[in-house]
Protein backbone atom coordinates (compact mmCIF):
# COMPACT_ATOMS: atom_id res chain seq x y z
CA UNK A 1 0.00 0.00 0.00
CA UNK A 2 2.47 2.56 -1.25
CA UNK A 3 0.08 5.51 -0.92
CA UNK A 4 -1.51 4.64 2.41
CA UNK A 5 -3.33 7.73 3.76
CA UNK A 6 -1.92 9.98 1.04
CA UNK A 7 -4.52 12.56 -0.01
CA UNK A 8 -4.97 12.62 -3.77
CA UNK A 9 -7.14 14.89 -5.92
CA UNK A 10 -7.80 13.72 -9.47
CA UNK A 11 -9.71 15.95 -11.87
CA UNK A 12 -11.84 14.41 -14.58
CA UNK A 13 -11.74 11.25 -12.48
CA UNK A 14 -14.94 9.42 -13.29
CA UNK A 15 -14.23 8.18 -16.81
CA UNK A 16 -11.39 6.83 -18.93
CA UNK A 17 -7.87 7.68 -17.79
CA UNK A 18 -9.00 9.70 -14.79
CA UNK A 19 -11.04 6.83 -13.45
CA UNK A 20 -8.15 4.38 -13.90
CA UNK A 21 -5.82 6.80 -12.09
CA UNK A 22 -8.27 7.35 -9.23
CA UNK A 23 -8.87 3.63 -8.74
CA UNK A 24 -5.16 2.81 -8.92
CA UNK A 25 -4.43 5.27 -6.11
CA UNK A 26 -7.35 3.91 -4.09
CA UNK A 27 -6.00 0.34 -4.42
CA UNK A 28 -2.71 1.59 -2.98
CA UNK A 29 -4.39 2.97 0.14
CA UNK A 30 -4.81 6.61 -0.88
CA UNK A 31 -7.70 8.84 0.01
CA UNK A 32 -9.03 9.91 -3.35
CA UNK A 33 -11.03 13.01 -4.21
CA UNK A 34 -12.55 12.33 -7.61
CA UNK A 35 -13.63 15.44 -9.47
CA UNK A 36 -16.04 15.46 -12.39
CA UNK A 37 -18.02 18.11 -14.20
CA UNK A 38 -21.33 16.77 -15.43
CA UNK A 39 -21.78 13.02 -16.04
CA UNK A 40 -23.58 12.06 -12.84
CA UNK A 41 -24.10 8.44 -13.94
CA UNK A 42 -20.41 7.72 -14.50
CA UNK A 43 -19.65 9.63 -11.33
CA UNK A 44 -22.02 7.46 -9.29
CA UNK A 45 -20.39 4.29 -10.64
CA UNK A 46 -16.89 5.55 -9.89
CA UNK A 47 -17.99 6.71 -6.44
CA UNK A 48 -19.25 3.25 -5.63
CA UNK A 49 -16.01 1.62 -6.84
CA UNK A 50 -13.92 4.08 -4.85
CA UNK A 51 -16.01 3.64 -1.70
CA UNK A 52 -15.30 -0.08 -1.68
CA UNK A 53 -11.55 0.52 -1.99
CA UNK A 54 -11.06 3.75 -0.06
CA UNK A 55 -13.80 4.70 2.42
CA UNK A 56 -12.47 8.22 2.95
CA UNK A 57 -12.79 9.08 -0.74
CA UNK A 58 -14.80 12.06 -1.90
CA UNK A 59 -16.77 12.76 -5.05
CA UNK A 60 -16.51 16.40 -6.12
CA UNK A 61 -18.67 17.91 -8.82
CA UNK A 62 -16.96 21.08 -9.97
CA UNK A 63 -16.18 22.94 -13.15
CA UNK A 64 -12.37 23.26 -13.21
CA UNK A 65 -12.66 26.38 -15.38
CA UNK A 66 -14.41 28.26 -12.60
CA UNK A 67 -12.29 29.77 -9.81
CA UNK A 68 -15.33 29.76 -7.53
CA UNK A 69 -15.98 26.07 -8.15
CA UNK A 70 -12.32 25.10 -7.73
CA UNK A 71 -11.99 27.14 -4.52
CA UNK A 72 -15.11 25.47 -3.07
CA UNK A 73 -13.92 22.03 -4.19
CA UNK A 74 -10.49 22.33 -2.60
CA UNK A 75 -11.94 23.96 0.52
CA UNK A 76 -14.20 20.95 0.95
CA UNK A 77 -11.21 18.64 0.55
CA UNK A 78 -9.15 20.62 3.08
CA UNK A 79 -12.03 20.82 5.57
CA UNK A 80 -12.34 17.03 5.50
CA UNK A 81 -8.74 15.97 4.98
CA UNK A 82 -6.63 18.93 6.25
CA UNK A 83 -4.18 18.78 3.39
CA UNK A 84 -3.56 17.53 -0.16
CA UNK A 85 -0.46 15.54 -1.09
CA UNK A 86 -0.99 14.82 -4.75
CA UNK A 87 -2.90 16.56 -7.53
CA UNK A 88 -3.48 14.96 -10.91
CA UNK A 89 -4.74 17.47 -13.48
CA UNK A 90 -6.45 15.05 -15.83
CA UNK A 91 -9.64 16.91 -16.76
CA UNK A 92 -9.59 17.58 -20.47
CA UNK A 93 -11.82 17.86 -23.51
CA UNK A 94 -11.43 17.70 -27.26
CA UNK A 95 -13.28 19.78 -29.84
CA UNK A 96 -11.51 18.95 -33.05
CA UNK A 97 -12.08 21.14 -36.08
CA UNK A 98 -9.91 22.60 -38.80
CA UNK A 99 -8.96 26.12 -37.81
CA UNK A 100 -11.03 27.67 -40.59
CA UNK A 101 -14.16 26.29 -38.90
CA UNK A 102 -13.03 26.52 -35.31
CA UNK A 103 -15.22 29.08 -33.61
CA UNK A 104 -14.26 31.10 -30.59
CA UNK A 105 -16.36 29.02 -28.22
CA UNK A 106 -14.62 25.78 -29.24
CA UNK A 107 -11.24 27.44 -28.89
CA UNK A 108 -12.00 29.00 -25.49
CA UNK A 109 -13.64 25.95 -23.99
CA UNK A 110 -10.75 23.60 -24.79
CA UNK A 111 -8.14 26.10 -23.57
CA UNK A 112 -10.19 26.75 -20.43
CA UNK A 113 -10.84 23.15 -19.42
CA UNK A 114 -7.42 21.79 -20.33
CA UNK A 115 -5.04 24.63 -19.51
CA UNK A 116 -6.89 27.05 -17.26
CA UNK A 117 -8.25 24.13 -15.25
CA UNK A 118 -4.70 22.92 -14.69
CA UNK A 119 -3.68 26.43 -13.56
CA UNK A 120 -6.66 26.94 -11.22
CA UNK A 121 -6.39 23.56 -9.52
CA UNK A 122 -2.61 23.76 -9.16
CA UNK A 123 -2.75 27.28 -7.73
CA UNK A 124 -5.46 26.36 -5.26
CA UNK A 125 -3.66 23.34 -3.77
CA UNK A 126 -0.25 24.99 -3.76
CA UNK A 127 -0.47 26.58 -0.33
CA UNK A 128 -1.27 23.31 1.40
CA UNK A 129 1.70 21.66 -0.31
CA UNK A 130 4.07 24.54 0.48
CA UNK A 131 2.99 24.46 4.14
CA UNK A 132 3.97 20.78 4.38
CA UNK A 133 7.01 21.11 2.11
CA UNK A 134 5.73 18.16 0.11
CA UNK A 135 3.62 17.73 -2.98
CA UNK A 136 3.22 16.05 -6.30
CA UNK A 137 1.49 17.74 -9.20
CA UNK A 138 1.04 15.59 -12.28
CA UNK A 139 -0.43 17.06 -15.44
CA UNK A 140 -1.75 15.18 -18.44
CA UNK A 141 -0.52 16.37 -21.79
CA UNK A 142 -0.65 14.74 -25.26
CA UNK A 143 1.60 13.78 -28.19
CA UNK A 144 -0.33 16.48 -30.00
CA UNK A 145 1.57 19.02 -27.89
CA UNK A 146 4.86 18.00 -29.50
CA UNK A 147 3.90 17.03 -33.01
CA UNK A 148 0.70 18.96 -33.61
CA UNK A 149 -2.22 17.35 -35.34
CA UNK A 150 -4.50 18.61 -38.07
CA UNK A 151 -7.81 19.61 -36.53
CA UNK A 152 -6.33 20.13 -33.08
CA UNK A 153 -4.95 23.64 -33.01
CA UNK A 154 -6.94 24.31 -29.84
CA UNK A 155 -6.22 20.96 -28.19
CA UNK A 156 -2.50 20.90 -29.04
CA UNK A 157 -2.14 24.54 -27.93
CA UNK A 158 -3.73 23.69 -24.60
CA UNK A 159 -1.59 20.58 -24.11
CA UNK A 160 1.55 22.39 -25.24
CA UNK A 161 0.71 25.07 -22.73
CA UNK A 162 0.45 22.39 -20.05
CA UNK A 163 4.01 21.27 -20.84
CA UNK A 164 5.37 24.81 -20.49
CA UNK A 165 3.31 25.39 -17.37
CA UNK A 166 4.67 22.16 -15.90
CA UNK A 167 8.28 23.13 -16.56
CA UNK A 168 7.88 26.66 -15.22
CA UNK A 169 6.01 25.71 -12.08
CA UNK A 170 8.49 22.93 -11.37
CA UNK A 171 11.27 25.53 -11.18
CA UNK A 172 9.28 27.72 -8.79
CA UNK A 173 8.71 25.10 -6.15
CA UNK A 174 11.39 22.44 -6.58
CA UNK A 175 13.35 23.69 -3.60
CA UNK A 176 10.31 23.45 -1.37
CA UNK A 177 9.99 19.71 -2.03
CA UNK A 178 7.15 19.74 -4.54
CA UNK A 179 7.61 18.06 -7.90
CA UNK A 180 5.64 18.96 -11.01
CA UNK A 181 5.68 16.61 -13.98
CA UNK A 182 3.57 15.71 -16.98
CA UNK A 183 2.48 12.41 -18.45
CA UNK A 184 2.02 12.19 -22.20
CA UNK A 185 -0.33 9.26 -22.98
CA UNK A 186 -0.24 7.95 -26.53
CA UNK A 187 -3.18 6.15 -28.08
CA UNK A 188 -4.98 4.62 -25.14
CA UNK A 189 -7.91 2.22 -25.26
CA UNK A 190 -10.78 4.23 -23.84
CA UNK A 191 -14.47 4.46 -24.72
CA UNK A 192 -13.48 7.16 -27.20
CA UNK A 193 -10.91 5.08 -29.10
CA UNK A 194 -13.03 1.92 -28.81
CA UNK A 195 -15.73 3.61 -30.84
CA UNK A 196 -13.38 4.18 -33.79
CA UNK A 197 -13.84 1.88 -36.77
CA UNK A 198 -11.62 -1.18 -37.17
CA UNK A 199 -9.53 0.29 -40.01
CA UNK A 200 -8.61 3.33 -37.97
CA UNK A 201 -7.79 1.21 -34.93
CA UNK A 202 -5.59 -1.00 -37.12
CA UNK A 203 -3.86 2.03 -38.58
CA UNK A 204 -3.24 3.43 -35.08
CA UNK A 205 -1.80 0.11 -33.86
CA UNK A 206 0.50 -0.09 -36.88
CA UNK A 207 1.94 3.32 -36.08
CA UNK A 208 2.81 2.28 -32.57
CA UNK A 209 6.13 0.36 -32.33
CA UNK A 210 4.63 -1.87 -29.63
CA UNK A 211 1.81 -2.73 -32.02
CA UNK A 212 -1.06 -2.13 -29.64
CA UNK A 213 -3.05 0.65 -28.04
CA UNK A 214 -2.17 1.36 -24.45
CA UNK A 215 -4.46 0.59 -21.52
CA UNK A 216 -5.60 3.22 -19.03
CA UNK A 217 -3.75 1.24 -16.36
CA UNK A 218 -0.48 1.74 -18.28
CA UNK A 219 -0.92 5.46 -17.80
CA UNK A 220 -2.09 5.11 -14.21
CA UNK A 221 1.07 3.19 -13.28
CA UNK A 222 3.20 6.01 -14.67
CA UNK A 223 1.20 8.57 -12.69
CA UNK A 224 1.66 6.53 -9.52
CA UNK A 225 5.39 6.34 -10.14
CA UNK A 226 5.71 10.13 -10.51
CA UNK A 227 3.59 10.58 -7.39
CA UNK A 228 5.75 8.22 -5.35
CA UNK A 229 8.66 8.95 -3.04
CA UNK A 230 10.87 7.10 -5.58
CA UNK A 231 10.35 9.95 -8.05
CA UNK A 232 11.43 12.60 -5.56
CA UNK A 233 14.31 13.81 -7.73
CA UNK A 234 12.27 14.04 -10.93
CA UNK A 235 10.63 17.34 -11.72
CA UNK A 236 9.80 19.44 -14.76
CA UNK A 237 9.70 16.35 -16.97
CA UNK A 238 7.31 14.91 -19.53
CA UNK A 239 7.01 11.13 -19.40
CA UNK A 240 5.57 9.62 -22.55
CA UNK A 241 3.47 6.49 -22.05
CA UNK A 242 2.91 5.68 -25.69
CA UNK A 243 4.43 2.36 -26.69
CA UNK A 244 7.24 4.18 -28.50
CA UNK A 245 4.96 6.33 -30.63
CA UNK A 246 7.03 9.52 -30.41
Amino acid sequence: MEFKNKRVVVTGATKGLGRAIALSFAREGAWVAANYSSDDQSAARTESELASLAPKSLLLKADVTSKTDVDKMIKRVLDQWEHVDILVNNAGIIRDKFLMFLDENDWDRVIDVNLKGTYLCSRTVLRTMIARKFGRIINITSPSARTGRAGQTNYSASKGGIVSFTKSLSKEIARIGITVNAICPGFISTPMTESLNQDIKCDLSNRIPMGRLGQPEDVAEAVLFLASEKAGYITGQVLAVDGGLI
Partner: protein, 96 residues
Protein backbone atom coordinates in the same frame (compact mmCIF):
# COMPACT_ATOMS: atom_id res chain seq x y z
CA UNK B 1 -2.56 35.81 19.53
CA UNK B 2 -3.88 39.32 20.19
CA UNK B 3 -1.38 39.75 23.01
CA UNK B 4 1.48 38.70 20.75
CA UNK B 5 0.43 41.00 17.93
CA UNK B 6 0.02 44.00 20.22
CA UNK B 7 3.46 43.57 21.78
CA UNK B 8 5.94 44.80 19.17
CA UNK B 9 9.06 43.34 20.75
CA UNK B 10 7.52 39.93 21.27
CA UNK B 11 6.05 39.95 17.78
CA UNK B 12 9.37 40.81 16.15
CA UNK B 13 11.09 38.03 18.14
CA UNK B 14 8.37 35.59 17.12
CA UNK B 15 8.74 36.55 13.46
CA UNK B 16 12.49 36.04 13.53
CA UNK B 17 12.07 32.55 15.02
CA UNK B 18 9.33 31.80 12.50
CA UNK B 19 11.59 32.74 9.58
CA UNK B 20 14.44 30.62 10.92
CA UNK B 21 12.16 27.60 11.50
CA UNK B 22 10.20 27.87 8.25
CA UNK B 23 13.28 28.23 6.08
CA UNK B 24 15.41 25.90 8.22
CA UNK B 25 18.19 28.49 8.59
CA UNK B 26 20.36 26.42 10.85
CA UNK B 27 23.28 28.84 11.12
CA UNK B 28 21.30 31.91 12.17
CA UNK B 29 19.95 32.95 15.55
CA UNK B 30 17.16 35.50 16.13
CA UNK B 31 19.69 37.93 17.64
CA UNK B 32 21.53 38.08 14.34
CA UNK B 33 18.47 39.38 12.48
CA UNK B 34 18.21 43.15 12.81
CA UNK B 35 14.74 44.65 12.83
CA UNK B 36 15.40 47.17 10.07
CA UNK B 37 17.75 45.10 7.92
CA UNK B 38 16.47 43.95 4.51
CA UNK B 39 15.26 40.36 4.49
CA UNK B 40 15.72 39.84 0.77
CA UNK B 41 18.77 40.09 -1.48
CA UNK B 42 20.97 41.89 1.09
CA UNK B 43 20.68 41.46 4.86
CA UNK B 44 19.35 37.96 5.42
CA UNK B 45 19.69 37.29 1.67
CA UNK B 46 16.39 35.51 1.17
CA UNK B 47 15.02 35.02 -2.34
CA UNK B 48 11.61 34.92 -3.97
CA UNK B 49 11.16 31.21 -3.38
CA UNK B 50 11.79 31.72 0.33
CA UNK B 51 9.05 34.35 0.10
CA UNK B 52 6.52 31.73 -1.01
CA UNK B 53 7.15 29.66 2.10
CA UNK B 54 7.02 32.72 4.35
CA UNK B 55 3.75 33.93 2.81
CA UNK B 56 2.15 30.55 3.49
CA UNK B 57 3.49 30.48 7.06
CA UNK B 58 2.27 34.04 7.83
CA UNK B 59 -1.14 33.33 6.32
CA UNK B 60 -1.53 30.20 8.38
CA UNK B 61 -0.33 31.60 11.70
CA UNK B 62 -2.04 34.99 11.58
CA UNK B 63 -5.06 34.13 9.41
CA UNK B 64 -4.13 36.80 6.87
CA UNK B 65 -4.32 36.50 3.08
CA UNK B 66 -1.48 37.89 0.97
CA UNK B 67 -2.86 37.60 -2.56
CA UNK B 68 -0.88 40.39 -4.16
CA UNK B 69 2.85 40.04 -4.88
CA UNK B 70 3.39 43.81 -4.39
CA UNK B 71 1.77 43.69 -0.97
CA UNK B 72 4.01 40.78 -0.10
CA UNK B 73 7.15 42.58 -1.25
CA UNK B 74 6.42 45.62 0.92
CA UNK B 75 5.46 43.50 3.90
CA UNK B 76 8.62 41.44 3.73
CA UNK B 77 11.03 44.36 3.35
CA UNK B 78 12.25 43.89 6.93
CA UNK B 79 11.15 42.47 10.28
CA UNK B 80 9.82 45.90 11.21
CA UNK B 81 7.83 46.15 7.97
CA UNK B 82 6.47 42.64 8.46
CA UNK B 83 5.48 43.30 12.06
CA UNK B 84 3.66 46.51 11.13
CA UNK B 85 1.92 44.79 8.22
CA UNK B 86 0.63 42.04 10.52
CA UNK B 87 -0.53 44.56 13.12
CA UNK B 88 -2.37 46.58 10.46
CA UNK B 89 -4.00 43.54 8.87
CA UNK B 90 -5.03 42.16 12.26
CA UNK B 91 -6.63 45.47 13.24
CA UNK B 92 -8.51 45.55 9.94
CA UNK B 93 -9.84 42.04 10.45
CA UNK B 94 -10.95 42.94 13.98
CA UNK B 95 -12.69 46.07 12.69
CA UNK B 96 -14.62 44.08 9.97
Amino acid sequence: MEELINNKEELFEFLKKMIIDTLRLEDITPDEIENHAPLFKEGLGLDSIDALELVVAIEKIFNIIIEDENVGQKAFASITALGMFIQDEYQQVQAD
